[in-house]
């Protein structure tokens, strides 16, 4: 992980479809050299994939929320299975503390959110926070030291 690889990751964070030729110009290397570096980053598991970024509002999901779930002790396995099956769940974090799980969910309407919470409430006590804005959204921290 030298400085050039960090630059490549940061550039690909900003635009995951940059060509090797374009990346090469930005890091002062030729396209094959960049391709080789990126290939190694992929093979070593540093890069796990590439994805599109979507505006949820524009695809009919105007409501997103964080749902903390204090799962009943005997229902953890069942809860996890449910969450992985629920279509509205965008992210699920298994965390320390009384709220064992925090979900990020996206729904088309408040009634859909209500229906979703009804399903979760059988297995957990929930606390819902509606997301109003997202001032920061990154792929990784900015502070990663650039040592070799």
């Amino acid at each position: 992980m030298d400085k050039t690889n960090w630059k490549l990751l940061k550039l690909l964070e900003g635009n995951g479809r940059l060509t090797y030729a374009e990346l090469g110009k930005l890091v002062h290397l030729t396209a094959p050299a960049v391709a080789e570096r990126v290939r190694k980053l992929e093979e070593s598991g540093v890069i796990t994939g590439y994805s599109v970024q979507v505006n949820l509002e524009k695809v009919g999901i105007p409501i997103t929320a964080l749902v903390e779930c204090q799962v009943y002790r005997t229902k953890e396995r069942e809860f996890k299975a449910l969450v992985m099956d629920l279509e509205e769940v965008i992210e699920c974090y298994n965390v320390t503390g009384p709220y064992a799980f925090v979900l990020k969910v996206g729904v088309k309407s408040m009634s859909k959110l209500d229906a979703l919470l009804e399903r979760l409430i059988d297995l957990s006590d929930t606390n819902t926070m509606m997301i109003m804005t997202t001032p920061v959204k990154r792929i990784m921290p900015l502070n990663i030291a650039q040592e070799d």
Copy 2:
């Protein structure tokens, strides 16, 4: 937003670097037809960008946490400015409820996390949940109705 566009979004969610030719094979269209659809999705703001996915552990960030911040009423503006400046913050959500902000942070060590919380605590009461696993991580819900 017809079915084909949904398929394209889902395919690009899985691999944001698929070529138009590859996408075309998967949705039974020619490459130029796909390129035109993707261009329109970009222009209309449905697609907001493309990005790489990175394994944080492999880049030296073994610790991630969710930090709920109950910001002091007079310090909201200051808090927001701080959060947008903090390198460790990966995501920041402004939410309803007493915890006005929820952060996702990534750090190299627990002492770095401690230092980060020290900075936040001047402007808010915090509650930290260490992320153990992430059973679900998607770009959008799966349940988006495929109406035209």
